[in-house]
């Protein structure tokens, strides 16, 4: 969780191109004209916008708590539901706590946890997907049955089931999120790996005597990387939304922890007096999801 912006920025420029790779015949094909130099890559505007939005948000999550300075839990009952002012940019909540400080801490918690959950879902999910495609037979059937049974349970319900092991504990929420998210990585990496492993390129490499490590490094990972980058952005925003939803219905993080969903619930009764209180965490969620969606290159032009 050391630097969320870096790992998110690591999405390769051609991210998301693989799903439409079968269109690549229109861009050269087998009879590629040797005289056409490869076009230098230009970042699409929307990707740049996505990276900028996400970078700002990551900076806010990373440095916000320190910059704001104010404690997210210290109450000031003489100054409740204060409107935005120079001292409290987003005003104060019903217990007189600084809304900006709470927002910064909540952003740090949500983003960090979501990224951690997405990464810990990605690693086993991808490895199992590759294993299923590679081994085939019983291994593949068993893993498919497992993934199908996880898919059969709605994601949030699964998170709830695992989170119920230790109500309100961070690790239980994290474990629940990872348990729900790995299936997507499994299915996608299996689907991408199967044709690669069945292809001539891998057969040629094996005939030449290359081992599994080589096939993984030179054939599978480059084929998987763009798709996994796209998926990481999607699952991270999914995890943030799931955390907020759980907090909102009161089964996620417990008060007084600053958490986006929880903050919305707390602000709900006062939305007529202090609409900025509920607007702030909502805007942050919209900001995050929009940034994640913008990160993926436009499929029509990719």
């Amino acid at each position: 969780m050391s630097s969320p912006p870096e790992s998110l920025r690591a999405i390769p420029p051609e991210g998301g191109r693989t799903p439409v790779a079968w269109r690549s015949q229109f861009h050269g094909g087998a009879e590629a004209e040797p005289s056409v130099p490869p076009r230098p890559f230009r970042w699409p505007v929307r990707t740049v916008l996505g990276i900028t939005l996400l970078g700002l948000l990551a900076l806010f999550a990373l440095l916000g708590p320190w910059l704001v300075g104010a404690s997210p839990v210290v109450q000031d009952l003489r100054n409740t539901l204060a409107p935005p002012s120079a001292q409290h940019w987003l005003g104060t909540d019903v217990l007189g706590r600084s809304a900006l400080a709470r927002l910064a801490h909540a952003a740090q918690l949500s983003l960090g946890m979501a990224l951690l959950a997405a990464v810990s879902a990605a690693v086993p999910g991808t490895l199992l997907g590759i294993a299923a495609a590679w081994r085939g037979g019983r291994t593949e059937r068993a893993l498919l049955m497992l993934s199908d049974s996880v898919l059969a349970i709605p994601g949030l319900l699964l998170v709830l089931l695992v989170a119920a092991l230790a109500p309100g504990a961070l690790w239980a929420l994290y474990a629940g999120l990872s348990a729900a998210l790995w299936v997507e990585y499994f299915r996608v990496s299996r689907a991408v790996a199967r044709p690669v492993l069945a292809g001539d390129a891998v057969q040629a490499s094996r005939l030449l005597g290359f081992g599994r490590g080589y096939v993984l490094r030179r054939h599978l990972l480059p084929a998987l990387a763009p798709t996994l980058g796209t998926l990481l952005a999607f699952t991270t925003s999914q995890a943030v939304l799931a955390l907020a939803a759980l907090g909102f219905v009161g089964v996620g993080m417990q008060p007084p922890t600053p958490e986006l969903g929880l903050m919305m619930t707390e602000a709900m009764p006062y939305y007529e007096e202090a609409p900025w209180l509920i607007a702030a965490p909502t805007a942050l969620l919209v900001w995050l999801v929009a940034a994640m969606m913008l990160l993926n290159p436009d499929r029509e032009t990719a």
């Binding site: 690549s24 590629a32 004209e33 040797p34 199967r194 001539d200 040629a204 030449l208 030179r218 480059p222």
Partner: protein, 478 residues
């Protein structure tokens, strides 16, 4: 040049050129096609044939600029205005792309990909669309393949599936890029019949092919392209009978029918022995128990219709597939990776995301082969070294096949199984590639097993022929 008759022509191309930066890839091409007329483009790979079709379609890579005018069904548009023709795709204008495996959606089964044309373009109900898709697929000999994914199909099957999907739209202006590549004589004939049907129904056809027989069967005009220029244009039969330009003569001469047989090799010791091997896929028996022995230096040509197990026989000998019965014995003295394969589609046989230099270096390091020796080999094969910085899909087929040859030679093969290595190349490049291959085999003393659909090529190369014709108990003619 033909005078465009705009009034009744379906497709008129006037002064079409393509350039990138200051470089002209195609210059001043003009022709017109009325209903029922056919035009064939022939020429070397990289001469700009596919680019011409892409320019008419309006899907040139964005870096390329097109000049000239294109008239489709009475509407004239600038060649550069690609968006203007996009609305006609499928309904008026269709392209059978060159690489069938890339044209299919890898994530969907074959039959639904065909059915969606009937459903979305012809507004049929889901049931009747899938019924019609099923019927069309079985007419194309793909009855059992509808529920498979594209990567489970052979090259020829994928080619037929894409042809069925392209024709399903019923577009009167049809462009086909190498439609018979990888097909045996039977399916090549069927494909030609299909296109003749389009012409009879009042469509027009632009064919890109290396196969002069196909071009002559379709008739009409021909344009011979070289370095982006039309060096000869006229009636196909006139041009074939009396070529005017030296390049056209060279192109016609390169047909394997005109080749002289290559020198007989001296046979060495036995490389591999197969005793009573057989293989069946489901109910289909590919080859009956077969005994085969290959000696070093020997060149065996394997022939027969597609789907009869030619590639499978090679894979069994290479040890990639286990035979159902019998056994394959390698000579004990051979190195572990002495059996190598050259693929029909060289693009597919390289890791797509890394440079060719990286692929070659990896192979050289694995086999402790000096990089200098690899460079020397590449020079012998006339591969410019700056090509190696590119990725496999950025190099032409003929060059890539030579790089593939350089890569397998790193392993010092004793048996080289070449699975239609030149079926995607133009005749001149094919002749060159086969010569390079035979020299390499001669130098290294490896045995060569060459799969081909081309009888003439088999006769010119093989010292023996293995015929997989149906009803033929594998005859081994010396």
């Amino acid at each position: 040049m033909t005078t465009p008759l705009k009034s009744d022509a379906l497709l008129v191309v006037e002064g079409l050129g393509i350039q990138v930066g200051g470089k002209r890839l195609l210059r001043d091409i003009s022709f017109s096609l009325r209903p029922g007329e056919a035009l064939t483009l022939v020429g070397e790979s990289g001469a700009g044939k596919s680019l011409l079709a892409q320019a008419i379609m309006g899907n040139l890579p964005p870096a390329l600029q097109a000049t000239g005018q294109i008239t489709l069904d009475g509407t004239t548009t600038c060649a550069q205005d690609a968006a203007a023709r996009r609305a006609l795709w499928g309904r008026k204008l269709a392209l059978l792309p060159q690489e069938p495996s890339l044209a299919l959606n890898p994530l969907a089964r074959v039959a639904p990909q065909l059915a969606e044309v009937y459903r979305l373009l012809h507004q049929q109900s889901t049931d009747s669309a899938s019924a019609q898709a099923k019927q069309v697929l079985s007419a194309a000999g793909l009855g059992g393949a509808g529920s498979r994914y594209p990567w489970q199909l052979s090259g020829g099957m994928a080619q037929r599936a894409v042809a069925a999907i392209t024709l399903a739209g019923g577009a009167p202006v049809l462009m086909v890029d190498e439609p018979t590549k990888g097909l045996d004589a039977h399916w090549r004939g069927r494909m030609v019949e299909l296109f003749q049907g389009v012409l009879k129904a009042g469509g027009c056809l632009l064919t890109i092919t290396h196969d002069m027989q196909v071009a002559q069967a379709l008739g009409g005009q021909v344009i011979v392209l070289r370095h982006g220029q039309a060096v000869e244009q006229g009636d196909i039969h006139t041009v074939a009978a009396a070529p005017q330009h030296a390049f056209t003569r060279q192109l016609l001469q390169a047909d394997p029918a005109h080749w002289l047989p290559f020198a007989l090799p001296t046979l060495g010791e036995s490389v591999v022995q197969a005793h009573g091997i057989s293989k069946a896929y489901g109910a289909q028996k590919l080859f009956a128990p077969l005994d085969l022995e290959l000696h070093s230096g020997e060149r065996i040509a394997v022939q027969g219709p597609s789907g009869t197990g030619k590639s499978t026989l090679g894979n069994v000998l290479l040890g990639l597939v286990a035979p159902d019965t019998g056994r394959v014995e390698r000579s004990a003295r051979l190195r572990p990776h002495a059996f190598q394969k050259l693929y029909q589609d060289p693009v597919g046989s390289f890791a797509p995301h890394i440079s060719l230099a990286q692929s070659l270096r990896d192979a050289a390091r694995l086999h402790r082969c000096d990089w200098k020796a690899v460079q020397q080999r590449l020079a012998q094969l006339r591969v410019p070294e700056d090509l190696l910085a590119r990725r496999p899909d950025q190099v032409s087929g003929g060059e890539l096949q030579r790089i593939a040859l350089a890569r397998v030679l790193v392993a010092q093969p004793a048996l080289l199984f070449a699975d239609e290595p030149t079926s995607r190349l133009d005749p001149i490049t094919q002749q060159e590639a086969i010569q390079v291959l035979l020299h390499a085999v001669q130098d290294t003393g490896a045995a060569l097993m060459l799969v081909t659909h081309d009888l003439h090529l088999a006769a010119a190369v093989g010292t023996r022929t293995l015929d997989f014709a149906p009803g033929n108990t594998l005859a081994c003619a010396a």
